[in-house]
């Protein structure tokens, strides 16, 4: 009909008509989108945008919120604790505080630490475990195949959950690289043995054992475990070491980092970090 109206040859009309239709539809849709976006505009929370930009964006959940956006929302809604992001660290806390106009809280830099020295050289297996090769599954079967039921199983559930690749397997247990670790806490949560703990990076000693059994039983099952001889507790000048059953525990707040306990421990369960 267009070709008859304007005396255009049919071949040209066959290009112009579809072109006009598609162009018309696109323009119409474009206009509609702009109009709708204008009438349905949401007020942009600028403070939240600025806070989100200051956060590292790793979405590890270590702050306790659902991703970085969740923490930004908490701060925008009036939260004042800017030190919850372990990944961003002190620099991030300062930036968040300056956006909010509050004083920055600097949390001490922490790292995860494995409180176990029970490598395959120190322990043995109670049975041959043929099930699903994860710590949480093995824990369900009589506490796992290790001779010490308090120790690291070494299947690496913590490695799977670590978003920063800070953990690796070594000699049947795991080891953590303090330079990569951001202390987000996900490994601590997933470990069924509760043998991972967040310690300050400045900590010098810790008891690398969780075994509360009496000394003789401990020695039978792991040659690196704490036997509860109390030598460390007696030699500590600041009283930072206390006993839980037959297990010594170092209170990092009282520890003066003198290192006297390291020399006296017969099994080297209390070790320099």
């Amino acid at each position: 009909m267009l070709k008859v109206f304007l005396q255009i040859p049919e071949s040209l009309a066959n290009i112009l008509v579809p072109g006009a239709v598609v162009l018309g539809i696109s323009v119409l849709l474009g206009v509609l989108i702009v109009v709708v976006s204008h009438f349905f505009r949401m007020p942009v929370n600028e403070k939240k945008e600025a806070l989100s930009a200051a956060l590292p964006g790793a979405n590890c959940g270590g702050c306790g919120f659902a991703g970085c956006d969740g923490y930004a929302q908490f701060l925008a809604d009036g939260g004042t604790d800017t030190s919850l992001c372990a990944v961003g660290g002190a620099a991030c806390s300062i930036e968040l505080a300056s956006i909010l106009g509050v004083e920055a809280k600097i949390a001490e830099r922490m790292t995860a630490q494995l409180l176990c020295r029970g490598t395959s050289g120190h322990t043995s297996a109670r049975y041959e475990y043929l099930g699903t090769q994860t710590c949480n599954a093995a824990q369900g079967l009589l506490g796992g195949p290790g001779s010490c039921t308090y120790g690291c199983l070494g299947f690496g559930d913590c490695i799977t959950v670590c978003a920063f690749h800070a953990i690796s397997k070594k000699n049947g247990i795991v080891q953590i690289d303090p330079d990569e670790c951001t202390a987000c806490g996900q490994c601590v949560k997933i470990c069924p043995k509760n043998v991972l703990e967040l310690l300050p990076v400045s900590a010098k000693v810790a008891v690398l054992c969780r075994n509360t059994w009496p000394g003789a039983q401990t020695r039978q099952n792991c040659s690196a475990g704490c036997i509860g001889c109390r030598k460390c507790m007696k030699v500590c000048p600041s009283g930072a070491i206390s006993m839980t059953g037959a297990l010594a525990v170092v209170d990092q707040n009282l520890c003066t980092r003198c290192g006297a306990c390291i020399d006296v421990c017969p099994t080297n369960a209390i070790s320099p970090l």
Binding site: V17, V22, L29, I33, V36, F40, M42
Partner: protein, 196 residues
């Protein structure tokens, strides 16, 4: 009425968009990991399928066909569906925040989902009337929901199983999906005889 029920049930069971026609697989594999996201995604898909059918069917029948421009179907449908989803997202964000929190984040995912485009095109190919098309779209969305629910259950079991190293992750998921699809073959011949 009987024809509408046949269309509805064949879209859900026999001609299930995901498991029989193999449309919308990437979003199906991506969202079926846990049940909560599966629910949100299926809600979004049902909404978008209905809305896009309501728009694209009239455009084809009253604009493109009379002008002899049926071949522009794919291009125009994609334009319309993408713009429609954008507008739905903007309106939903402002007027229904709880609904937006539940399924709003899935809307960009289905902007060019082939299942949505598939519904729109199949309505035309099968020469459905407007009511038939809307029922087909509803059935398509419900069928997608059904397959998502079924498959998220299957995936949870597969996650706990001892999978050979070479098949871990995507390979075993695809194999599981194809086995579920085979099971849907059993529905062939069911629907026509149900409403006889």
């Amino acid at each position: 009425m009987k024809e509408l029920m046949i269309i509805l049930f064949s879209a859900i069971l026999v001609d299930n968009f995901v498991l029989s026609k193999f449309l919308g697989i990437c979003s199906f594999l991506g969202v079926s990991k846990n049940l909560k996201t599966a629910m949100g995604m299926s809600g979004a898909v049902i909404l978008v399928m209905l809305a896009s059918t309501a728009l694209t069917w009239p455009i084809q029948i009253w604009l493109l066909d009379p002008l002899g421009l049926g071949y522009l179907q794919t291009l125009v449908f994609i334009l319309v569906i993408a713009a429609l989803v954008q507008m739905i997202e903007m309106v939903m964000k402002k007027t229904m925040p709880p609904l937006y929190n539940a399924l709003g984040i899935f809307l960009p995912l289905i902007t060019t989902n082939c299942a949505v485009l598939g519904v729109a095109i199949l309505n035309i190919t099968k020469s459905y009337t407007f009511t038939d098309s809307m029922v087909n779209a509803l059935g398509g969305g419900l069928g997608y929901t059904l397959s998502l629910f079924l498959f998220s259950g299957v995936r949870r079991k597969v996650d706990k199983a001892d999978v050979p190293e070479a098949l871990k992750g995507l390979p075993i998921t695809l194999i599981a999906a194809s086995l579920v699809a085979v099971s849907f073959f059993g529905f062939k011949g069911l629907v026509e005889n149900l409403f006889r």
